[in-house]
Amino acid sequence: MASQAARGGVSLPEKRPPKRQQPDSDTILAKLTNSEIVSKGKRAACDTAYVTKRLLRSTGKAAWIAGTTFLILVVPLIIEMDRDQQLTELELQQQSLLGAPPVGAPQK
């Protein structure tokens, strides 16, 4: 739809034309289902389902991008910093075991 494309990526589907009233339905059930409130309620439910689907999909995509970027950039850093800290602790322990006091505070 041209108007939808002009507005941008995301928008609700265009308003559907109201259902033609059937003039020869006299039963209460038919009157109820053709009433204004019920059709508005149905339209609202469809729109909600549509919006929820789009939202879930974009959240999923964002979560994937954030997750993989975090995995590449941050996880090796945490692992390496942990190893460096273990090595520093080990050296400090060995220095204190051998009796010589450490020369200065361990580098951060």
């Binding site: 950039l73 090796p76 390496e80 951060k108």
Partner: protein, 330 residues
């Protein structure tokens, strides 16, 4: 010393007190004894070291054996997909493998490096210090494919606080550059080049500012870090490219860098942010790009002379994922 307000003057307040410390602490800048600037092509070397590691895809193995304090041989194996330039949106990758043999002779005055690959390419580099101030650099690449062989020679002259470079290449490539220290921290430079074969010519300008130890209250801003080293560079070229970079050394192990490239002819903008962690057993470089690219490069020391290398690059826009691992011995 002349110029100090008399001790009784209390009207002036904080600014005057800081100015007093300023005059005592800072030496007078001697404009006749400025330090020699960085060579023009290495202007952005801190940013390039932090933000542009040699990412690769596939397996890499390098072995360097020193026969002499000056002479060494190197063997290198690479197996992995190589990208081919393709017109469509899909990147074309072809698995290739090659072995590279190289010899290096390294002397304080003379450096010779040569490499031969199994796909028929030969690369040679020479760097020679002819005198204390004049040095010569040459590199050449020969290839089996037609029109892929080229060579280039550079003459560098280092003056007291300036450097000039003259560049001659095949395909009638001619270039010259000049960089001068303006203050102890700021240097400005320019370059001009002319490529006859592609009928391109251009002019470029560059500026570089570096600073360290800003804690001595030399200016009115108080900087909370213990010792700062930061470098800011900017470069403009008439090919339409403007490049700016800023590197800050946050501590002695960590440095953060950011880079901004703008092409005003094709209106192309790229910005990137990266970090560089130098720990005792490892060096980790990570970068995030505005083109939707995240990349990381890890070099870990497993043993004396044994390094393990991991490289990862994720391109979210093109959905292109590249991972590589390797071992470097010697």
């Amino acid at each position: 010393m002349a110029g100090f307000p008399p001790p009784g003057a209390t009207i002036l307040g904080d600014d005057a007190a800081e100015k007093k410390i300023d005059e005592v602490g800072k030496k007078k800048v001697d404009y006749f004894n400025l330090p020699c600037p960085i060579p023009f092509e290495e202007l952005q070397r801190e940013a390039i070291m932090s933000l542009k590691p040699e990412l690769f895809e596939g397996m890499r193995f390098d072995f360097t054996k020193g026969l002499n304090p000056k002479f060494s041989l190197s063997h290198s194996v690479f197996m992995g997909p190589m990208e081919l330039p393709s017109q469509g949106a899909e990147t074309l990758k072809i698995p290739t493998a090659h072995y590279e043999f190289g010899a290096n002779f390294i002397d304080p005055k003379l450096m010779l490096i040569g490499r031969v690959l199994t796909d028929g390419r030969l690369t040679a580099r020479v760097k020679c210090d002819l005198t204390d101030d004049l040095s010569l650099k040459a590199n050449a690449q020969l290839s089996n494919e037609p029109n892929m062989s080229h060579g280039m020679i550079n003459f560098d002259y280092k003056g007291k606080d300036y450097r000039t470079q003259l560049q001659l290449g095949d395909g009638s490539l001619f270039g010259a550059s000049y960089i001068q220290s303006i203050t102890p921290h700021l240097s400005l430079g320019g370059e001009v080049f002319w490529a006859g074969q592609h009928l391109k010519s251009g002019v470029g300008y560059a500026a570089r500012y570096e600073n360290d130890k800003m804690v001595k209250l030399a200016c009115a801003m108080h900087v909370p870090f213990a010792s700062l080293l930061w470098v800011a560079t900017g470069q403009v070229a008439s090919t339409g490219m403007i490049a700016m970079s800023y590197v800050q050394k946050v501590s002695e192990k960590v440095s953060l860098a950011t880079d901004f490239m703008y092409n005003y002819l094709s209106r192309d903008v790229t910005a990137s942010v990266g970090y560089d962690y130098i720990l005792r057993q490892a060096r980790l470089r990570g970068k995030l790009d505005s083109n939707g690219c995240a990349s990381a490069f890890l070099e870990e020391r497993l043993n004396m002379g044994l390094n393990f290398v991991l490289s990862a690059e994720i391109d979210h826009k093109k959905s292109d994922y590249k991972f590589g691992f390797g071992l470097t011995v010697g």
